[in-house]
């Protein structure tokens, strides 16, 4: 299955916009995949990122489906 990804915050360059994943992949696995493919300095940011799937909040157990749109957001509330 194919999911679309969009990043906000300091996670941008070099991360994939589209990923082909196995059926039944959940957000936790997606996070691990992204962390593994990211630069060293992005890893802690990704591990603390919010994932929003099709405009709804997702937690680690949320199972992804074909064509899902995933927003990866750095939780950087401040100021």
């Amino acid at each position: 299955m194919v999911i679309k990804l969009k990043y906000m915050g300091v996670i941008h360059d070099k991360m994939p916009d589209v990923l082909d994943l196995e059926e039944g992949t959940n957000v936790k696995t997606l996070k691990t995949i992204l962390i593994n493919m990211s630069d060293e300095e992005l890893k802690p940011i990704l591990s603390n990122a919010s994932f929003i799937v099709n405009n709804m909040n997702a937690n680690d157990d949320t199972v992804l489906n074909d064509n899902d749109k995933v927003l990866v957001l750095t939780p950087l509330g401040g100021g």
Partner: protein
Amino acid sequence: MLYGYAGKMLFIDLTTGEIEEKETPKELAEDFIGGYGFGAKILYDMMKPGTDPLGPDSVLGFITGPTSATKAWFGGRYTVVNKSPITGGWNDANSGGFFGPELKKAGYDALFIKGISPKPVYIYINDGKVEIRDASHLWGMDTKKVWEALKEETNEPRLRVSAIGPAGERVSLISCPINDGHRAPARGGTGPIMGSKKLKAIAVRGTQNIPVANPEKVLEINKKVTEAMKQSELAQAFGAYGTGVGTPASALNGDSPVKNWGGVGVVDFGEEKAEKMGSIALDRYKTKKYNCASCPLGCGAEYEVNDGRWPLGPTERPEYETAAAFGSTLLCGEPDAMLKCNEICNTYGFDTISAGMTIAWAMECYERGILTKEDLDGIELTWGNGEAIVNIMQKMADGEGCGAILCHGSQYAAKYWNKGEEYLQTASGIELPMHDPRHSPGLARTYKFDPTPGRHVKGGIGGVQMLEPIKEENYIFDGTGPADLGMTLFVEVLNASSMCYFSTLCAPPETVYEYIAAITGMNFDQETAFNTGLRIFMMRYAFNLREGIKPKDMTLTKRAVGEPPLEAGPLKGYSVDVEKLGRNFFKEAGIDFDSGLPDKALLEKLGGLDEVIKDIYGEDK
């Protein structure tokens, strides 16, 4: 010698022109550290309950803290304290830049001003020499021009100035002084107090050294903080792009309010607009990084904007709060309009949060037909309309037409027009800041029940939740008291020490206590920190209690707690039991929620609160 302090405080009466210098008492330093700790104690003693905040007996304080004007990283903030003309209760607001350390180097830990001058004046402090000077020629001038004019007039190129602009002169309730061109102790109505006193500015220049008990230790702690900063991704991101780095993510993950707190970021605002308002995109205008005094991080930046509908030339990078207040809150994805509003607020002297939120209220009222085009001087104030937003903001700045009403904030405007009250988004009348308690539930308690209501920089569990993804366990409201109180008291000490809140992004909490101990020579362990934090909290709380404000009287509008819950987006279905969070917190703090009375034995144990005990429990304790 009082290590960590200039050792003197100034008391100025603008009615009589009297200037009095007093020693900073050792007990005051030990019991209340500085900042609003000093402020709450001194205003409690100097002001009677029921004092008109805009009258001659109202006292306004500008206060530094022990870390200010030392080598301690992040130690450069100062705090303004006053009785809020909006809530009728306690108010404090702090600001970075260089003004605070300069005041301290000029010889004073704090400055308290009462009275009303018959004509516009400014206070000039230069290395222990204090004058009240005529400011008639500065009246009407914007905050940046005043700074330049005063540098020239005093022949002091390194002069630091905290000045109101035309908004404060008009006693606009949401106005504030601005220091260093763009830093502001903005919230809760600081500017109207200066305006009502005809006090245009405070100008300071100082070269004195502050005695530090253990200077080597301070440098050692600095090293630790620098190391921690290098390890912290959050600190790195703030250092590179400022607080605005989080604007797009916050607009979409539910942290930022959207459409006057009634909308959903991913649905109503969208990724494209969100991204445009963040500082990663806006930093195309960056010309220079900006660090406040003694700050190793530097979340600020200077901009040069020469394109768009409002080519401003030199200006400053807007802070996250400003970008959200003039962005997602108004559904506005037009960065040039937001930058223009930021510049208007900095030059005329407005609290950007309250200004943006007041426009958000007016927009919703306009959409619903509550406010008409006639009410708004012919402006079609539709959602996201950057041009209309700038027009309204300019009217507020000029105090012209509907702007003369809106410049006093949303609560005032709703009362004036006698309509739209149900669309206010406020805590005890103060426009809410840009972090949504439906995303970080602990903030509901701080917004509603902190003695300085409607603030996002008062610690508590919400301060931590704000930095995390949404977690189910944050919506369980049992047993929150101990953590909520602990994290609040830590921030009481941090704020009183004059350190920047953003130090917490990289420095572990005990760093603040270590700095205070090294600078003042006091023994400042965890227990001292807890008791001092609680004493400061009690002092602010007692100021409100004496005005008749109890927890039960404090208000928070309903959207902020998910009543009713949002029907879409990441926060769909969430609501916050703020009453329970409040009860948990006050119980832990030793305050009875229903009667509002703090526990007498606890007050006695904390010490330094004799006047409070006398006022609550009578003369013979």
